[in-house]
Symmetry: C2
Subunit: 177 residues, 2 copies
């Protein structure tokens, strides 16, 4: 049996600066009608960047929905017509002041499959050279240099909870066992 849900109606219910929210009426495969509310998102890239000395670049950033600072890897949304890799290079440089000459693709993660179509593309960056940090005018963050082992231990101990960070670090560890 096909599990596909067929779109009956499609309505934009909020068109904000960041969030674009839609409400669709759908026909479920069992014949019932339902509604699906979800965000349409341009996508993002996230970077695990290795410094020449082997440490990795982390950030500690105040995240408004949680009203606290959160540990995470550098990441950001795609600009219009920007490739995933170009976004990864740009966000790393803007947020941390490091330019990566080498980017390797590590697949993607879907942060919230129930209510956003956001795809976060994962990259491992090497061959870094010092550049300049350029934060957005509403962005404040602390750049941290940590060992991969320390970050892995923080994930295991529930001290890192950001999903893209766990996904990229875990996939890197699993692929390089």
């Amino acid at each position: 049996m096909s599990k596909e849900e067929k779109q009956i109606t499609h309505e934009k219910v909020f068109d904000g600066h960041l969030l674009h929210v839609y409400k669709d009426k759908v026909l479920c495969p069992n014949g019932n009608e339902s509604t699906r509310e979800y965000i349409m998102h341009q996508g993002a890239s996230c970077v695990l960047a290795f410094l020449p000395d082997g440490r990795i670049i982390m950030e500690k950033q105040f995240r408004y929905p949680f009203h606290k600072e959160v540990y995470e890897l550098p990441a950001g949304k795609l600009d219009p017509n920007e490739s995933n890799e170009r976004c990864a290079i740009r966000e790393l440089e803007e947020e941390t002041g490091w330019h990566a000459n080498k980017m390797e693709y590590y697949g993607a993660v879907y942060p919230s499959i129930a209510y956003t179509d956001e795809v976060i593309h994962l990259y491992v960056a090497k061959d870094l050279v010092k550049s300049e940090q350029h934060l957005d005018k509403d962005e404040t963050l602390e750049v941290l240099y940590m060992t991969l082992d320390d970050v892995v231990n923080m994930i295991a101990k529930d001290e890192i909870r950001d999903s893209k960070t766990i996904a990229l670090i875990s996939r890197y560890v699993l692929k390089n066992r």
Copy 2:
């Protein structure tokens, strides 16, 4: 320097069945004003359940924002006044027809820190007994029994992209190395 962003105004911009969207005006620590658009979410629980034969319970579910089927662990939203653990037990039983007598807490994951305050609580379930599946009327999913090794390999190979699934499987693997 404090990185806190102070709330100036707080407005509900969409009040749906699933999504409750807010737009706040905030004062950034550098003195700039900005807006933050985000979802307020009741929270959820996600379960890594081990069958008596050692295999784990996975699901393949059609996810409307992606218009395709996605591999994921059993999970669901908290009912009003429900504990995280009770939610984990209930969702596992409703979605898969297995009742867990033992639940161990594995911390939490923040799926999308930029725009939702959702916290997904992670549990490992053991001592399972067969019960009855009770799907919601708009829910269709396939229950799969897989080995942990197969699921870990699918994460490494970018065949599993759901963030809560990667977070829980990875934390389990990292804590039980």
